[in-house]
């Protein structure tokens, strides 16, 4: 997990509505604070969240 990517994702996660839950198969459900905790701690879930976001951001950039 690159430092810059981590920061980008953490900033995005801060803007999520409090009612939103990310459901990850086999791992459970995560609210924004839990997601931020995972990303900050660079856990496996955190790595996945960063990967999902960076995949999406890059794809969004390509369509502009």
């Amino acid at each position: 997990m690159k430092g810059a990517e981590k920061e980008i994702v953490l900033e995005r996660l801060k803007t999520l509505p409090s009612n939103m839950r990310l459901m990850i198969g086999g791992e459970g459900k995560f609210d924004k604070n839990q997601m931020m905790h995972e990303v900050e701690n660079e856990s496996e879930i955190g790595e996945l969240i960063v990967q999902i976001y960076m995949n999406g951001i890059r794809s969004f950039k390509d369509t502009i």
């Binding site: 509505p17 939103m20 839950r21 459901m23 198969g25 086999g26 459900k29 996945l48 969004f60």
Partner: protein, 218 residues
């Protein structure tokens, strides 16, 4: 193989499996309206023993799995192994499979492709995810955040039940996902652009292994 028999497994032991359990109801209702004989292995019936017994007895051509997974396994109720690579994977041979299970396309899906030219396995090569609204956990069908994930996924079995090929079913699902991604990208509502990222993840990992022309009509 009996193409009029449609086998569904529906675990329901955590929030994620509960959502799939409820949303699969739409697929089951459609199948029944079309005249299919639906064998619904729900909750405590979503076990390996029941699954093997039903497949042996009813020999369904099309199977829909709802349960957690790994590359080498698809599970049922309470995480019990239902199909495991190296143990009973050959039970999937020549059938049309759609597995809403993480990772299973990587292992079981690839194996299905090797086992036969006729069958097809649609699944996910990495983790299957979706977004849910915490205010709707007890009413998944009212969850407008989960809806794009669930509906675009349900298109696959519904399309197959209509007689479309697995390639066509994938195409319809992907089209729906792209439409939803575009909607959420441009909505401007808080968190919606992020929803599009999660949809994109499933879109990128939804995988077809085996015969893309497999259908219930051939």
């Amino acid at each position: 193989m009996h193409k009029e028999n449609f086998l569904v497994t529906r675990a329901d032991h955590d929030d994620m499996t509960h959502y799939l359990f409820v949303w699969t109801g739409e697929v089951i209702d459609f199948a029944k309206r079309k005249g299919f004989k639906v064998i619904d292995l729900a909750r405590e019936r979503a076990t390996r023993a029941q699954f093997v017994s039903v497949v042996s007895d009813k020999d369904p051509k099309f199977i829909l799995f709802n349960g957690h997974g790994k590359p080498e396994r698809i599970t049922g109720q309470d995480g019990e192994n239902v199909v495991v690579l190296g143990e009973n994977h050959d039970i999937l041979k020549s059938r049309i499979i759609y597995a809403r299970s993480c990772w299973a396309a990587q292992g079981l899906g690839k194996k299905c492709e090797e086992m036969s030219e006729d069958g097809c396995f649609i699944g996910y090569s990495m983790t299957y995810i979706f977004i849910a609204d915490n205010n709707c956990m007890s009413r998944p069908l009212k969850d407008e955040l989960a809806r794009p994930f669930m509906e675009s996924s349900n298109i696959i079995p519904i399309s197959i039940l209509k007689g479309n090929s697995t390639k066509e079913a994938m195409g319809k699902s992907e089209k729906k996902m792209r439409e939803c991604i575009e909607f959420f990208e441009s909505s401007g509502m808080p968190g919606h652009a992020d929803v599009s990222f999660f949809l994109k993840w499933n879109l990128d990992n939804q995988t077809i292994c085996g015969n893309p022309e497999a259908s219930l009509d051939n």
